[in-house]
């Protein structure tokens, strides 16, 4: 099955990012394809390369970048990102900023979309 993921909340503050990540790992382990991950609402905060959590905790933007490096399309909504101050200046690697049309495309090209939020 081809799956896309919508993440609506920021890292650390809500469990949404962690649930999405754990779900994606399980889906990949079962051989499913992830068409894309779309970050919207406060979800746009997931992708700043400036985050610097305690050494013994997970590094959420780095995890997303690593998934992006495997070829999964990682997209941040430009409108939601602009008002919140997430720009190319702070964007982590292997993630791109684009429009909501990319979410529509992900839906078109996926069997399922799963939303994680608050």
């Amino acid at each position: 099955m081809i799956i896309s993921i919508l993440v609506l909340e920021g890292p650390y503050n809500h469990e949404a990012s962690d649930s999405a990540y754990n779900f994606i790992q399980a889906a990949l382990a079962k051989g499913h394809a992830i068409r894309g991950i779309f970050f919207y609402d406060d979800g746009v905060y997931n992708v700043t390369r400036l985050m610097d959590p305690p050494q013994d905790d997970r590094h959420i933007s780095r995890r997303w970048s690593e998934l992006g490096a495997t070829g999964i399309d990682m997209v941040v909504c430009i409108a939601a990102a602009k008002r919140r101050g997430i720009t190319n200046e702070v964007l982590a690697p292997n993630i791109r900023i684009s429009g909501l049309g990319q979410l529509a495309s992900m839906i078109h090209e996926s069997d399922r979309i799963v939303t994680f939020g608050d």
């Binding site: 949404a16 754990n22 399980a26 382990a29 799963v114 608050d118």
Partner: protein, 97 residues
Amino acid sequence: MLHTVNKSLFQNGALENCLRLARDGDAILLLEDGVYAAAAGTVKSSLIEQAVKRFAVYAIEADLKARGLGNLIKEVRVASYGDFVDLVEKYPVHAWL
């Protein structure tokens, strides 16, 4: 359909809202703070005790463990993230955020 619920039922109406629209044969997956609904012996346990008669109810194991929940309503099925994936394969999903 698969309904996901991620809010504490003690503080938030999401689970009740979900149960109002869910249809016989649907599956309900409790995750994050939603897993408190799976606990036996709480003032709100009857919600899921009734729900299991109409729906397949699952709760994410990692979320149960994080919250120390072991004494569960017995018809609730403990699920891994892999089981979550299988449910998504079987049903379209609505997240009751």
